[in-house]
């Protein structure tokens, strides 16, 4: 461990940040501890009681006003007035009654004026019953979803929307719960809530004798709604209670409410301070972009916690996406190593894989066999196309970046015609009318999730897609083995220093072709893995952007345009996909209904590529 050189400025910044973190941390921890302590419980209970009294009070006023109105109407009728007179009298009575109610203080009861012991007890009993009910509901629904997983998930619409941009942003599945029936336990708990409410009503009537049972029943939804809701947290309860009580809880309330935010911000600040302190070695080890994205990823994690988004399920999604995109990103590696730089012509391989998948559907294969069949066909096609693609690149040495990009674009456009004229017959993939294949083809009947579900298990609420990760690991291992083989080493040398390789009698052109073929073949397998995880195959424009996404992922992992390692692939894919997976819900929570996460994706992927290109011009060791 070498000594860390820290400048004065860094040190000052560190101390300031740590001090701020300490303050926030202390406040946050204090707030969190108060939530369970008497003072916190009392504040929340007071606000709830006030909310109940407010609601009940307005009910009482309404009841009083309604009675006055009725009386006025009756009086006006008896006086022989027409419609007009009746209406005027009613309006007048309403205004007067409201003023009088205000004056008499019918609806306004202050907490300090009444004895709240009994009321409080009744309220707490009801809240407890409600919470028990919602817990049970959540559990029951989860069980229901797990049981009927495939029947009720519908992602098709989302996929159709996403495919225009070739993106996978709209990957979440919508869940249809219309078939869900309440369990007996839920019914029992629901009944308990009802009886607790009745008990509460009795107490309310003591304070507001004017209230009738009917009115109280009509107020039930409002009162219970303030107390608890499905998927509740302390913060949301607090917010509702505060809003409907109209109380100002002061600084203590703010501390109580924002305790989590404070504590998490303090945590973030501590991390920031550490980064500032170890800035130089960190930058040296990880490079600026990885540091920025890594910090951004942590920021997103903290934000997700602050916003009460389910971090574990998001991390689970990230794992799925890691396996799903991993092989595609891995396909960049042989290309970079053999000297053709970023293989942005990846769509060539992708198309091979897609044809493999289509053949699998056409021949009616399914399950793991279908998946393997698709892989084999994809490998064969992409081996051939990769060979010719490699020949092309050997003739255009030095301009690989632009050549691969344009080859990628051209092949996608060419296949747009191809998809229309290929003689596939299966109705799953043909448009119902006319010729050609659909833009998005579902894989439910073939190999959807064969890897994802293989040996998958759940831990801490995260579903681990064991098969998918194992397959990715297997691909990584094979590539790693190849890179250690005699041919692999020769290929790397041909990429790193063609003149050196040639002086050792290595056929540089042949090595470049091997690298290009490998890259193309991995891309074919990659898209099949991607498809099985996504559940759909996307034709036409979709493959166009994939090369760029894979390229930015591997660069983010620390690869340069001329050197890459397996670790770059894994780290890069995880960070890149992690930021995207977390970015979307966080962005949606911060700015509802925005497409900011899509913007983020494009920004990150293209920004990373640009950064890497600026680095590749000069000496690779910067």
């Amino acid at each position: 461990m070498q000594r860390v050189n820290v400048s004065r400025k860094q040190l000052i910044a560190c101390v300031l940040i740590v001090a701020l973190a300490l303050v926030l941390g202390v406040i946050g921890v204090y707030g969190l501890s108060c939530r369970g302590a008497d003072s916190g419980v009392k504040l929340l209970q007071d606000m709830r009681l006030q909310a109940v009294l407010n609601t009940a009070g307005s009910g009482a006023i309404d009841a009083y006003v309604a009675a006055e109105k009725q009386a006025a109407t009756k009086a006006a009728r008896e006086a022989g007035g027409g419609m007009k007179e009746v209406r005027e009298a009613t309006a007048k009575a309403e205004t007067e009654a409201r003023a009088r109610a205000e004056e008499l203080g019918i609806g306004a009861v202050d907490l300090s004026e009444v004895d709240t012991t009994a009321l409080g007890a009744a309220l707490n009993a009801m809240v407890a019953a409600q919470e028990a009910y919602y817990d049970e509901e959540a559990r029951a629904q989860e069980a229901y979803i797990a049981l009927n997983k495939d029947a009720i998930t519908a992602a098709e619409d989302a996929a159709e929307v996403a495919e225009d941009e070739g993106g996978d942003a709209a990957m979440e599945e919508t869940i249809d719960l219309s078939g869900f029936v309440a369990t007996e336990e839920m019914n029992r708990l629901s009944a308990e809530v009802d009886s607790a409410y009745l008990a509460l009503c009795e107490e309310i009537k003591v304070i507001f004798p004017a209230l009738t049972d009917d009115i109280l029943q009509s107020l039930k939804a409002t009162i219970t709604g303030v107390m608890a809701a499905a998927g509740d947290t302390f913060e949301s309860r607090y917010d509702r209670a505060e809003a409907s009580s109209g109380m100002n809880a002061g600084a203590f309330g703010v501390i109580l409410r924002q305790a989590r935010t404070f504590a998490l911000t303090a945590l973030g600040l501590v991390i920031l301070a550490l980064v500032v302190f170890f800035y130089a070695p960190l930058v040296k080890k990880m490079g600026v972009p990885r540091l920025i994205i890594g910090m951004f990823f942590l920021l997103l994690c903290l934000l997700a916690l602050i916003l009460n988004l389910s971090l574990t399920s998001q991390l689970g999604n990230t794992l799925v996406r890691l396996g799903m995109n991993g092989v595609l990103v891995l396909s960049m590696l042989p290309g970079i190593q053999c000297g053709i730089s970023l293989n942005l012509g990846m769509p060539i391989g992708i198309i091979g894989g897609l044809i493999g998948g289509l053949l699998c559907i056409e021949l009616g294969m399914s399950g793991i066999g279908g998946f393997l069949f698709a892989c084999v066909v994809g490998l064969m096609i992409s081996a051939v196309t990769g060979y010719f693609y490699g020949q092309l690149l050997n003739r255009l040495k030095g301009d690989e970046m632009s050549v691969t990009t344009y080859v990628g674009f051209s092949i996608v456009s060419l296949m747009c015609i191809g998809w229309l004229v290929l003689p596939f017959k299966s109705p799953i993939m043909k448009w119902p009318l006319g010729n050609g294949l659909r833009t998005t083809i579902g894989l439910q009947s073939t190999y959807k999730h064969v890897l994802n579900n293989f040996l998958s298990f759940e831990i801490f609420g995260v579903t681990i897609p064991t098969g998918l990760l194992l397959f990715f690991a297997l691909c990584c291992f094979l590539v790693w083995l190849f890179m250690r083989s005699k041919t692999g080493i020769a290929m790397s040398a041909a990429g790193a220093n063609p003149r050196f390789a040639a002086a050792t009698g290595i056929d540089v052109d042949r090595m470049r072709i091997i690298g290009t073929m490998l890259s193309t073949m991995l891309a074919a397998v990659g898209i099949i893995v991607y498809g099985q995880s996504y559940g759909f195959m996307q034709l036409y424009q979709a493959p166009r952007q994939m090369g760029f996404l894979a390229a930015s992922a591997i660069l983010l992992g620390g690869a340069s345009t001329s050197r890459a390692k397996i670790s770059n692939v894994i780290i890069g894919t995880f960070l890149f996909q992690g930021v995207l997976t977390l970015g979307m819900p966080v962005a949606n929570a911060l700015i509802p209904g925005s497409t900011i996460s899509e913007t983020l994706r494009i920004l990150i992927s293209n920004g990373i590529i640009l950064y890497a290109l600026t680095k590749s011009g000069g000496d690779t060791r910067g």
Binding site: L481, F482, R484, S485, K486, T487, I489, A490, S492, A493, A496, N497, R499, F500, A502, A503, T504, G505, I506, R563, T620, R621
Partner: protein, 535 residues
């Protein structure tokens, strides 16, 4: 009143950092004189000319000390353009001509004769029309004065190289007010008859009163054409003399000289009997290596000897090992211990038991982003499949064996590093060179080529590299062929030295031959056949 000297450079000293490349050099040129500037590679000729032309590289590295006088007036030359305005022109070694333009256009480039047009009245001088007639007249005159009858409207593209040289000269002569022309190795690319014509042209230019600085290594041309000679050696002024008072042999001796430093490694040269088996037999080797053309080389290298190949840069000595090892295209017959070697096939050359330490260490010699150990075993692994183990039919690298071997090499050659996994790009030049040698040795070669083994490394490392070569030769009986620009080095460890000039072997000299002999050989004159006295 004209001064006695058209150009005087007084006590010029130039440092690049700590390194003094010129110290106290003076140069005096009379009007109308052809003055030769002689010196080995690295003697300081180009630096002196860079100073004269005010090249940016001089200013960027801290300027120089000393004084430059033109026509007796002290001046500062700020840039090459400034030099042109002051009447100093340069005929470049590499042609600075635009191939797609006609001779006239090339000659008048950026000095076009124009007359105003409608557009230029509005938009300024850049849009004036060219006066082609006047321009071609000027070009014609210039071409005539260098004795070229070629049509001035011919495109430069496709002209023979000799013609391009003359066009270049014509362009310089055409400049008005030119007082001094520098010819940088003008005859290097010319045929004999063209060279003779060039010398005639130079004389006729000089007769018009234009002084010429003639940089060359061909000593006979100096004697034939030049009036005065200035000789530099190791950045120092050696002497200035009239050609009439000297001979080729004397010039050669002055140019090579005895270097101040003593040999730091000495291996006594050995005499090999005539019937020693021939290790490497080279017949009529021609190599197409850019900048180091080998035209026709025949050599017999005996088994167990340290054979030196010397000569000036660009003369083809480096091309010989590169050609044999298949790095550049080559032709001819090469036999190693009686077995014919397939040319243009690096793999076959390595397989046959030869290895090379390349002069281009960072370019051809190393994988800079790979570890020391991977570099060391690379050839052995690729060529003969050593250091591998089989797994499922694939040959994988055997990390353990590689590490063992690398550590042994690091110890043996004293490679200074943090460990076998350090990247070679982060090593110093000397240690990089040792890695290259280790890589060659790992192949267990019967014959090893070392090309410029001490270029760009410090004295300590130099010593170790040379000692290693001697040790390999004496202890393992390995035949060593060492190519070097540093004659000193060759003389310190070799048994015999072949001197290459213009792509051909001039002579094979014993190590203890005189400086004059080496000097003559380097300028392409076989000692013993030279005019003048033989030392």
């Amino acid at each position: 009143m004209a001064a006695e000297y058209i150009l005087e450079m007084k006590n010029i000293t130039k440092r690049y950092g700590e390194n003094k490349v010129l110290s106290d050099v003076s140069l005096k040129i009379r009007p109308g004189e052809i003055h030769a500037l002689l010196g080995e590679n690295g003697a300081g000729k180009s630096t002196l000319m860079n100073v004269l032309f005010g090249m940016p590289v001089i200013h960027a590295t801290g300027g120089f000390e000393g004084e430059v006088l033109i026509d007796g007036q002290s001046t500062t030359i700020a840039s090459p353009h400034d030099a042109m305005l002051k009447g100093i022109g340069m005929v470049h070694q590499e042609f600075m001509l635009l191939p797609g333009f006609t001779i006239t256009e090339n000659i008048k480039l950026n000095r076009e004769i124009t007359h105003p047009s409608l557009l230029s009245r509005v938009f300024g001088k850049n849009l004036e029309t060219l006066d082609m007639a006047a321009m071609s007249q000027d070009a014609r005159r210039a071409l005539d004065s260098v004795g070229m009858s070629i049509d001035e409207y011919t495109l430069v593209k496709g002209l023979p190289v000799g013609y391009m040289q003359f066009v270049e000269i014509a362009r310089e002569i055409d400049k008005t007010g030119v007082k001094l022309l520098v010819f940088d190795e003008p005859t290097a690319v010319l045929t004999e008859s063209e060279a003779a014509q060039l010398l005639r042209v130079m004389k006729s230019i000089a007769q018009k009163g234009i002084a010429i600085i003639f940089i060359t290594h061909r000593l006979d041309e100096v004697i034939e054409a030049a009036d005065g000679v200035t000789i530099l050696r190791d950045g120092k002024f050696v002497c200035e003399t009239r050609t009439a008072d000297t001979t080729v042999t004397q010039l050669a001796e002055l140019m090579i000289g005895r270097k101040g430093e003593s040999a730091f490694v000495t291996a006594d040269p050995r005499e090999f009997p005539e019937d020693t088996p021939v290790a490497l037999k080279i017949r009529h080797l021609a190599v197409d290596m850019p900048g180091e053309q080998v035209k026709d080389v025949s050599l017999d290298i005996r088994e167990g000897e340290i054979f030196g190949i010397g000569g000036l840069a660009g003369q083809g000595k480096v091309g010989i090992p590169n050609g044999i090892m298949g790095v550049y295209d080559s032709e001819g017959d090469v036999e190693l211990f009686g077995e014919p070697v397939r040319l243009n096939d690096a793999h076959a050359a390595l397989k046959s038991g030869m290895a090379m330490v390349s002069e281009d260490r960072r370019g051809v010699g190393l994988l800079l982003d790979e570890s020391i150990e991977d570099n060391i075993v690379f050839n052995a692994m690729q060529v003969s499949g050593e250091f591998t183990k089989s797994l499922l039919g694939a040959k994988l690298k055997d990390s353990r064996k590689i590490r063992e071997h690398a550590n042994e090499m690091i110890r043996e050659l004293d490679i200074r590093c943090f460990g076998a996994v350090q990247h070679t790009g982060t090593l110093s030049g000397g240690n990089q060179q040792k890695v290259c040698i280790a890589r060659a040795l790992t192949m267990n070669p019967k014959l090893i080529f070392v090309s410029e083994p001490t270029r760009g490394i410090d004295i300590g490392a130099k010593k170790l590299v040379l000692e290693t070569l001697v040790k390999l030769n004496r202890e393992k009986g390995m035949t060593v062929v060492m190519v070097s620009s540093e004659l000193m080095e060759l003389r310190s460890i070799c048994d015999r030295i072949a001197i290459v000039a213009e792509g051909e072997v001039v002579d094979i000299l014993p190590v203890n031959s005189s400086d004059a002999d080496f000097g003559l050989a380097m300028s392409g004159i076989k000692p013993g056949s030279a005019s003048g006295k033989e030392a």
